[in-house]
Symmetry: C2
Subunit: 432 residues, 2 copies
């Protein structure tokens, strides 16, 4: 299945692609030096939006759950990256405990199980014995589950000792979280000082804030753009954060409208600068939400007060029913990518500091301004040819590997921002 | 171009494949721990022979020159491996000087230039500015060359200062040798203590000995086989080394015949043990030769004395006209692999400790016992599907990725042997 991709690349992005291709050795060296200073999270998925005139990360997921959407032939890249990561974290690692989402056992989520199967295969091939442990006190016996593709996995009850977490007859060196901890940090994961928790607990959505991430990204984008001599706006969406917003009671509404207005004005100024005739819009998102929940689009500050009851209650709660109190107002970046007739946005997957593949999130019933992370979305693996070596001699915009390389660079900037974000928000580092 | 592969896999090798697949996490961990102790050479190509009843490395090349024979879609694996290698060797590396073979400029070798183009693309993508410097005192001006595929490269005169080697306006951090130094170590490469020479000078064929390599491999194979509980002979060819052999004058002939006889007897004993009905044979090779030169096959010790004049003079000199005085007598391992009607042997390429791809060396005019590294050979890239994740549930012997994984494991054992060999023969370490 090779997706037929249509990208309306305008002048500015073609220039950027060309500049990135020509500066490849300098960019890779710049990143290499950054990784000397900052440790990437174990894995990461970045949602990008390519508007033709700008290319920006709009969401950085530290618990990627779509490894099954990567093309099978990129798996060796994932294995190699995992090997490099393990070697740095715990070279004599033997056993890996993977903690999936709570809903792993639910029937409608059997596609999530395919992700678990794929993740286990990668980690096994990288030299680890992999078993799954449930964040679920009610699970008393191992539970055998069947993924949509027929493969089976077993999820087992956790066994916690004073200092270590494991399973029956299974003492892991590292624990890989594929559960984003939206509901808070479970006690069973606290005070595990002898084992590596990947990513660390404060990467979970109960503590993580998108606004922290994008503040760090602002700085990364600025430094990268300076090196490349480009306008950072080309790779960075404007954003503002607003706290104390209670959609149900309309508290904080005026402050939110003010922020929306400020961001819209900044976008409008840039649109004028670049002669872009589209109408600016912003996306209001939960500052710690995920799964595409708690997201709404507005084109004018007055729309904030005009949200109807249904829209307000949709914005009031995120994943797992968690109340939304803080939001981020993010510049809306249209996507001009299509897979056949459907609007598409690229998602880039990384393990350690390496891009290992990607896929398109595709939605047939949404527009190019919409959030595509919504029921009805489909996934189309990026064919491996897209990950081939860039061709610096190709006509600008014409070679899929060149475009994918650009995506990989911007995704790694978001990964770098996540690394710095996790350093800055590390509760242990703050105590020191 | 997907090669049609035919492999007559017998019982013993199917068992080995199955055992290796099942023990993958343990094997990868074992290798990971070995790489804590030993540093792999920068790159390496290993020739394997798969006889159906055994799978063995027969040659380990530390100056691989066939990167152009790898499938284009494995390039991202090569880039990722090169990134990991550079990060360890010289994280702030900016410039890389590549030193090609002397014959790079010769017309008939324009395929070698394709290798250089490919290698440069990999290293550039890994974040280095790459230029080529000629080991040729007569080159006074940059020389522009065109590879068989139309791509151009420029080879420049070397500029040596007291402490550093470079090119005009180009001061590299590392120097990558793709020249095997068969003619001896050129003075221009001596005493470069501020720059990294990859691989080190003593990896060159003017000092390296195959017998050292296979002695180290004996030990690696023994340790690996113990872990996996297999007969080390399954993955290791018998060998003996003989020095002071002058084929032209027939000096050392009796000693050589004796070694041939001893190795043949050992093979015959194993053939009886496993019920193999083929006739044992040995390959006599220059102990420091390459390019498939200085190689002959004998089935009986009496054949040594019976070599005719032409055969003796063919054995007397190796690559670049270097006189052969030391030989290795290696157990002949037939290859039961075919690509269409031609006999084939797999070659596995590695960068740092990672398998990055492979190809088949194919020869339509040779038998399954012959050396295939001879004029008339062709190269068929191993399609990328072969490098996909192994399928532990597949019928034994039926899945190309499973077979390729086995090849990758054995090739990495040879790589490990090369690492230990280079440690043991390091002249600086010996001085200490």
């Amino acid at each position: 299945m090779v997706p037929h991709l249509v990208t309306a690349l305008d002048g500015p992005l073609l220039d950027l692609e060309q500049r990135v291709l020509e500066a490849t050795p300098a960019i890779e060296r710049w990143l290499r030096l950054e990784w000397m200073e900052h440790t990437p999270p174990f894995y990461c998925g970045v949602d990008l939006r390519n508007a033709g005139f700008k290319l920006a990360p709009v969401d950085t997921n530290l618990f990627p759950s779509g490894f099954n959407h990567l093309a099978p032939d990129v798996m060796p890249l994932a294995v190699q990256a995992a090997m490099a990561a393990i070697e740095k974290i715990c070279p004599d690692a033997k056993n890996l405990l993977v903690i999936p989402e709570r809903h792993a056992g639910a029937g409608r989520q059997s596609f999530y199980l395919e992700n678990m199967v794929r993740l286990a295969a990668i980690m096994r091939q990288a030299g680890l014995n992999v078993r799954f442990g449930a964040l679920d006190d009610e699970l008393r016996e191992p539970l055998s589950l069947t993924a949509a593709d027929g493969q089976k996995i077993v999820i087992e009850p956790l066994e916690r000792s004073q200092r270590r977490l494991g399973l029956k007859n299974f003492d892991p060196c590292s624990i890989l979280l594929n559960n984003d901890l939206s509901l808070g940090t479970p006690q069973v994961l606290e005070d595990l000082h002898e084992q590596y928790l990947l990513p660390p607990l404060h990467a979970g959505w109960s503590t993580r804030r998108k606004s922290n991430h994008f503040n760090c990204y602002d700085d990364v984008a600025k430094r990268f753009s300076k090196m490349l001599d480009i306008d950072p706006w080309m790779i960075n969406p404007y954003h503002a954060s607003v706290s104390g917003v209670y959609f149900e009671t309309r508290e904080g509404e005026a402050q939110l409208a003010e922020s929306v207005d400020a961001v819209l004005r900044k976008i409008a100024r840039k649109y004028r600068e670049y002669g872009i005739e589209d109408a600016p819009y912003v996306v209001i998102k939960s500052d710690s939400g995920t799964y595409g929940m708690g997201v709404t689009i507005v084109r004018d500050a007055s729309e904030v007060a005009g949200l109807n009851r249904r829209e307000r209650s949709r914005m009031a709660v995120g994943k797992d029913g968690v109340e939304i109190r803080n939001v981020i107002v993010q510049e809306g970046v249209q996507t001009f990518e299509h897979v056949e007739d459907a609007v598409a946005e690229p998602v880039v997957y990384m393990i350690d500091r390496y891009v290992v593949g990607g896929f398109y999130r595709v939605h047939g019933a949404r527009t190019n301004e919409d959030n595509l992370n919504a029921p009805g979305m489909k996934f189309v693996p990026l064919p491996f040819e897209h990950a081939a070596l860039p061709d610096v001699h190709a006509k600008p915009g014409a070679a899929p590997p060149n475009r994918f390389y650009l995506y990989g660079v911007v995704a790694r900037l978001a990964l770098l921002a996540a690394s710095i974000e996790l350093e800055k928000t590390d509760p242990e580092a703050i105590q020191v």
